[in-house]
Point group: C2
Chain length 370, copies 2
């Protein structure tokens, strides 16, 4: 069952619009976006003449099953003798791109060159020479930032899976439980709910460990009156979810509860500030000013949120450094946090769709768990 239709037509329209005759697209998530196939080492060569998906030999059968609207051709530096894959190209991915560009007769190309590691990018530039007319990195990132309905549907389904993980955590909390153990419970519930993969390594952090915005679960055991921070996400239908909840185990001390209440208030202010036409820095400022009033702003040491889609971090960014403007179809996280080093941390995160009239929450799990 394919929930999301690959967006190759968006790329072809863009090619047309820019007066190009083709595009070379690399990157696992970009290639998934345009073709429906997710796998390492795949490169898309798209043109008005047709589109070819180049894949390493070992990905050929999966790519043939999953990709839509493209001819799939394997490449391999030393093909296996006796192999029967049609259209096999002997050589590196660079050789394969050059060959297909030649076959299509393309002379004015775009490529998302600035996303490729320098060593490989330099070789691709050399191969394509004057034919390379445009860096597509930011254009593709912009395309991907505006979600269509089928993409939103996939992300809502992925959010439900993450919420199954949170539900399992609420039910499982017990004195003496380790962070790693709780991570296992949470992930097992996400798998039972159908998770294809995790959006990112699950974070489970107790009390002072929650003061690290990014950390891995450890053997740290849970005690009464401590904070439990869980930041988790699942990939479903190729799209990511990303949610954080901070819950109390037993009765929190006054200071922790005050912080948690302030973070929740800041989050609601951030969400309320989201609307089409709004600058991406404004929700960040709205949340930050709530924390400022409580004297907690100096502990909010990251930006408010980020776009989510095929990647868990993509455009736009909700930060003070952001020059973007929110548009209908964007899906962003809103995740203020307060991190008091050595003491305690709190973060609350939801996913929000920018709509034509305002915003819509894609996540629905109870927030006040303290």
């Amino acid at each position: 069952m394919r929930v999301v239709r690959p967006k190759l037509s968006k790329l072809l329209s863009f090619i047309e619009e820019k007066g190009l005759d083709g595009a070379v697209v690399v990157g696992i998530s970009n290639v998934q976006y345009f073709t429906g196939f997710r796998g390492g080492g795949a490169i898309l060569v798209a043109s008005r003449e047709g589109a070819t998906l180049l894949v390493p030999q070992l990905e050929y059968s999966k790519a043939s099953a999953d990709a839509v609207g493209v001819e799939v051709r394997p490449y391999y530096r030393y093909p296996v003798p006796g192999i029967t894959m049609p259209g096999l190209i002997e050589g590196t991915w660079l050789d394969a791109v050059a060959k297909v560009v030649e076959e299509y007769g393309l002379s004015r190309l775009g490529a998302n060159i600035s996303s490729i590691p320098y060593g490989e990018a330099a070789k691709l530039k050399e191969k394509l020479g004057d034919r390379l007319a445009l860096d597509l990195s930011s254009d593709i990132s912009r395309m991907r930032s505006i979600k269509e309905d089928d993409e939103v549907e996939a992300m809502v389904a992925a959010a439900r899976v993450a919420e199954a993980g949170l539900r399992a955590a609420v039910d499982a909390l017990a004195e003496g439980m380790g962070e790693v153990e709780l991570a296992g419970v949470v992930e097992e519930a996400m798998r039972r709910a159908g998770a294809e993969e995790y959006s990112f390594p699950t974070i489970v952090a107790f009390e002072e460990n929650a003061a690290y915005p990014h950390t891995s679960p450890t053997g740290r055991r849970l005690g009464k009156g401590e904070v439990v921070l869980i930041d988790l996400g699942a990939r479903l239908h190729g799209y990511c979810s990303d949610i954080t909840r901070t819950m109390a185990f037993g009765q929190l001390p006054e200071r922790s509860r005050e912080i948690a209440e302030a973070v929740l208030e800041a989050q609601l202010a951030g969400i309320d500030a989201i609307a089409p036409g709004v600058k991406a820095e404004e929700p960040d400022a709205a949340a930050r000013s709530i924390l400022e009033k409580r004297g907690l702003a100096k502990y909010f040491i990251h930006s408010l949120g980020h776009g989510v889609g095929i990647d868990v971090h993509e455009a736009p960014r909700l930060s003070r450094a952001s020059e973007e403007e929110l548009e209908p179809g964007m899906v962003v996280t809103v995740e203020p946090g307060v991190y008091v080093a050595g003491a305690v941390g709190v973060r609350i995160e939801d996913m929000v769709l920018v709509t034509k009239k305002g915003r819509r929450l894609l996540t629905s799990f109870e927030r006040n768990l303290f």
Copy 2:
């Protein structure tokens, strides 16, 4: 408890040896290798004058706790007002690197430039100008490929965690169980055994899905007489494990059992071919020739194995394209596979340490499960 001592001294010796006065190192795993801190956006500037670890503001407290032998300084484009982190640098990571290089007075630098995305690498080259004398990418990759005893110890511990996952799978197999469900069981067992993270997204594939070398678990349900392929790994003490087993659920049909036996025989031949001084292509050839005799070589569509360490895929590669030579301290996977599209797939994978006299298996789970 720190199992692995960071390897900064290796970098400093290298700087000395090459007549450089400093190095700029990027990449999450490279930075972990030299400093002990694993986190996004970190950059190491090492020199004879001292070493500085630059981290985004949100990673400051974790980096300060984890990093060894370096001064930790946060950078941020718009620092939070009232923040109290010492040594904060206002600006991008590029600004921060330029500032520290200036402060140390470095004039002849190495940097692993070819690993950085082209867009950023071009900016770094511009910032460093003539001071950039050497691309360190392959040198660092080579350093990391030779493991010291403490690294091997971490990997053995990580292998035990993965084996706990396999044990749970053997115990849990049941008719009608879904691939995703079994993945949850396996991962939950790895978490209970202490997994900090997974080395890569766990693969659980039944029968015809096992014919895709790379795939994500689906809702596909297990039937009697089918193959169960599980490829899994955990990160422990910052180092990865990577193991694959193919097991039978019930009695396999003759053809599947023949394939599994051939893959096992090929794997043993590949392992036996590993020794110091051997070309990295030889174990691949040894395994391939066994499959050739059974008429199965055309289904072995990837290379025999890869180095493992902080990253699950690192140097060296055991492939026909490899020009490397095996050396004591290298840890590689040996993982032949046979993939009959639409029908069945089998892969068996272990981790092998190259020793002074030969080889040592780091994994110990029963292989013949069919």
